[in-house]
């Protein structure tokens, strides 16, 4: 993995990882709001969201065309596109980038699908190393309980039904997530991911996340905004045609 994030790029990159139902997205969302409230420039990037690649992935999933290698390659394409068009430029400009899932998701899932680990490491050599990579560690039964409680059905690949572990989607999901969790354990060792105990309550976890992020914020660019209401007042305007969010965000 390239060392660019830490050494050359002025921005900061914080990412979250964990099995489905670990609560990582909630934590990232809270971090996002906290950083924005302090005026930091924050860019958010989600797994599987490249506008150019997404359609192919979607079709592949819907029509069950994806097998381990194509699953891996199309996700790598999506990730590469986001790195080059979204993540890297923001880091170069000095912004904070938050990513919900990163390369470790691919390492974990693809390895469970039988793809060579060393091939995956080389395939993804284009990625930028995160400033801090959080791993939200939750016991399997807890994660499965959270997902099962909130969802009537599971999607084919989400449940890992392509692995043929079980015909029952929820049983397959449980076995699939268990194996992914095993891979994450290995990745924590290999890449030094920062482990957060995701069985704690949400507020406590968020406090720990902020504590870990804080020391990395020195010297990061902030928006120096003249308060909108102040500006309006000075000009004697009401701002009635402005997007209401622009006024209230100050």
């Amino acid at each position: 993995m390239s060392e660019r994030a830490k050494n050359e790029l002025p921005g900061r990159l914080f990412i979250v990882e964990g099995i489905d139902g670990s609560g990582k997205s909630t934590q990232l969302d809270l971090l996002h709001k906290w950083l924005q409230a302090q005026g930091y420039l924050v860019v958010f990037s989600e797994w599987n969201s490249s506008p150019i690649v997404k359609r192919t992935t979607k079709r592949g999933k819907k029509e069950k065309l994806l097998t381990p290698i194509s699953f891996s390659l199309i996700h790598a394409a999506d990730f590469a596109h986001r790195i080059h068009s979204h993540i890297l430029p923001a880091l170069e400009a000095g912004a904070i980038v938050l990513a919900d899932r990163y390369v470790y998701t691919a390492f974990a899932r693809d390895a469970v699908r039988g793809v060579s680990r060393s091939w995956l490491r080389r395939l993804y050599s284009f990625v930028v190393e995160p400033t801090v990579a959080f791993y939200f560690d939750v016991p399997l039964h807890e994660a499965v309980h959270r997902i099962a409680a909130g969802r009537p059905t599971l999607k084919f690949y989400e449940a890992g039904l392509d692995l043929g572990l079980s015909d029952d989607p929820f049983e397959s999901f449980r076995m699939f997530q268990g194996r992914i969790r095993g891979e994450y354990e290995r990745l924590c060792e290999e890449f030094g991911l920062t482990r957060i105990d995701a069985t704690q309550n949400i507020v406590r976890q968020q406090m720990q996340v902020r504590e870990m992020v804080q020391p990395h914020l020195d010297g990061v660019m902030r928006l120096d905004r003249v308060k909108m209401r102040e500006a309006l007042g000075r000009a004697g305007l009401s701002g009635r045609y402005l997007d209401p969010r622009r006024v209230s965000e100050e």
Partner: protein, 241 residues
Amino acid sequence: MTDLRFYGDRPPGIDGQSLPGRLIVLEGTDGVGRSTQVALLKEWLERKGYAVIDTGLTRSSLAGSGIQRAKRGHTLDPITLNLFYATDMWDRLERQILPALRAGMVALVDRYIFSMIARAGVRGLSPEWLQGLYEFALIPDRTIYLDIDVEHLLPRVIHDTGFDYWESGRDFLETGSVYQSFVEYQNRLLAEFRRLADRHDFTVIDARGDVGATFEAVSREVEQVISSMVSDAMPPEPTNR
């Protein structure tokens, strides 16, 4: 028999040691006449009684249309584009080529991984990364490389299609006219192909001559690859009656 050998680790879900079909790859730069030769070969083979499938870049059901769409915008970085091509390649390998080889067919592939490696190499991607990426590919029984120089290529390209944006390297070469950048790009690409030809043991065929002369040379090579197929499939001769 085609040995089931890959450039790297065997991909998950692929079983067996050998396949009764043959994998024949045609490589060469755009405009050299590759697709013409593939079309002629297909007819020639079928006339001899061989079952043939032919496939080429971006013809996968999974990623073909996605690549076409992405290229229209001219916005993709070379890594993403190659991962897209690799997805397309693997999908065709798994769904078209391997099943055909299992069924004892001849698979004619119009541009395999080498075109992608050459084009990306010229655009500055690391050769190690590219070789690694395409490790999932099955090693062909024969790779026939149609060799040409820019001087002979030019009239064909002008006559057939004109100068294509990508095949003139306009996405990364900044100098000169379209013509100049075509010449520059093709010279670099041909050099890259020749490097690959050495490393991967291509059968190099001089494609500067006319269609007929090239086909004669190409079909002679293919003949060698398929000649053992009939005896492979024959039941053993009865020894006594």
